[in-house]
């Protein structure tokens, strides 16, 4: 149990963060995180230690896709208002209220644009740009070649630009 608690400390932030940006709402992200942690408890010992991190991200991504399929939220791209507030609350060091509002708005736009990205672009953009995983880690998690990962990342960001231009409020960027 102690070893498992260490794993929880190590991975729960990554799992929750990925899930939140992937599915776009807190409740689903919490449920996914809970289910993934339970999967680690039940099946983590079956995975080789070097592959554990990549396995966890694959399980998380699959859980996110399942959640989206189940709740049919994929096309709706629902982002609850309280999530915007929650994100705004996480700003550190923004003493300027105008800047804080602008940053919160920017995050809202980014989240909305992320919801519009198809797979595997969304996964790769979140893993690389938000979670700062290395290309090697992403390669293991996605089972894609590094060059393919880079290509998808670039295309994903290009698509984000296109999506942002289609979202109301983008002009204020």
């Amino acid at each position: 149990m102690r070893a498992f608690k260490k794993l929880v400390d190590r991975y729960q932030q990554r799992i929750y963060g990925f899930s939140f940006y992937f599915v776009g709402n807190r409740e689903d992200a919490e449920e996914i995180t809970q289910n993934v942690l339970l999967s680690i408890w039940r099946h983590g010992h079956e995975v080789k230690p070097d592959s554990l991190s990549a396995w966890i991200m694959r399980v998380t991504r699959n859980a996110c896709l399942d959640a989206l399929r189940k709740r049919q939220a994929y096309r709706e791209g629902i982002v609850a208002e309280d999530e915007d507030m929650a994100l705004a609350d996480t700003v550190v060091g923004d003493d300027n209220p105008e800047q804080t509002v602008e940053n919160a708005e920017l995050r809202r736009l980014m989240e909305e644009a992320l919801q519009r990205l198809n797979e595997p672009y969304r996964t790769i953009v979140i893993l690389r740009e938000i979670q700062a995983m290395t290309y090697e880690e992403i390669q293991q998690a996605t089972e894609l070649r590094i060059n393919t990962v880079k290509e998808y990342l670039h295309r994903g960001r290009q698509m984000l630009r296109v999506h942002l231009q289609g979202i109301s409020g983008y002009e204020n960027l």
Binding site: T33, Q34, L37, L109, I130, R161
Partner: protein, 188 residues
């Protein structure tokens, strides 16, 4: 302006992300820089790409609420408890739960062993005042009391942990049987 025509806008835009990631060769960087400096549309695209890049990096990694882990630990505790429960109370109401079977078998072996031993060597049962006796009546009484206490303790602990203890099994089938058997053997 002349240099900006050396490479089409589409090519520049395809390379913007590689450019921002710093993965372009110096020559290519120079070509794009020249193009962008003379092309307003590509300059805006480059600026937007930089903002997207910066904004993505600025998204907080987010901490999972503390109660998520707590809920997981609670779920695991519950599952473990259920596993223990199903192990102890096989088919719930059946007193043939594996644990109790094992306990019953152990008690039965003990009783048989004690009975056989006492029947075969009654002269070895004496009193505390008889130092030569292997087993005194007082020792037997003490052993019986200790066995009953141990069984009672199992019952209490199980009850505290929320398990439905079959007191009738412990009292009637195990402790009671033990007591009767010992008494019958010692005082025929």
């Amino acid at each position: 302006m002349k240099t900006s025509k050396r490479i089409p806008c589409a090519d520049v835009r395809n390379q913007i992300e590689t450019y921002i990631d710093g993965d372009l060769a110096e020559e290519s960087i120079a070509v794009i820089d020249r193009h962008v400096s003379g092309c307003g549309a590509c300059r805006r695209e480059m600026a937007l790409a930089r903002r997207v890049h910066t904004a993505l990096h600025a998204l907080p990694p987010l901490d999972a609420p503390a109660d998520v882990a707590e809920r997981v630990f609670a779920q695991i505790r519950m599952e473990r408890h259920e596993t223990l429960r199903s192990w102890l109370f096989w088919e719930k109401k059946s007193w043939l739960a594996p644990a109790w079977c094992a306990l019953g078998v152990a008690a039965a072996i003990l009783l048989i062993w004690m009975g056989v031993r006492m029947v075969q060597t009654p002269e070895h049962i004496g009193t505390a005042s008889d130092p030569e006796a292997e087993i005194s009546l007082e020792e037997l009484a003490l052993a019986e009391a200790q066995t009953k206490w141990a069984l009672g303790y199992i019952s209490q602990v199980s009850r505290r942990t929320g398990l439905t203890v079959r007191d009738d099994i412990i009292g009637g089938r195990v402790a009671g049987a033990l007591q009767q058997n010992v008494e019958k053997t010692v005082r025929p």
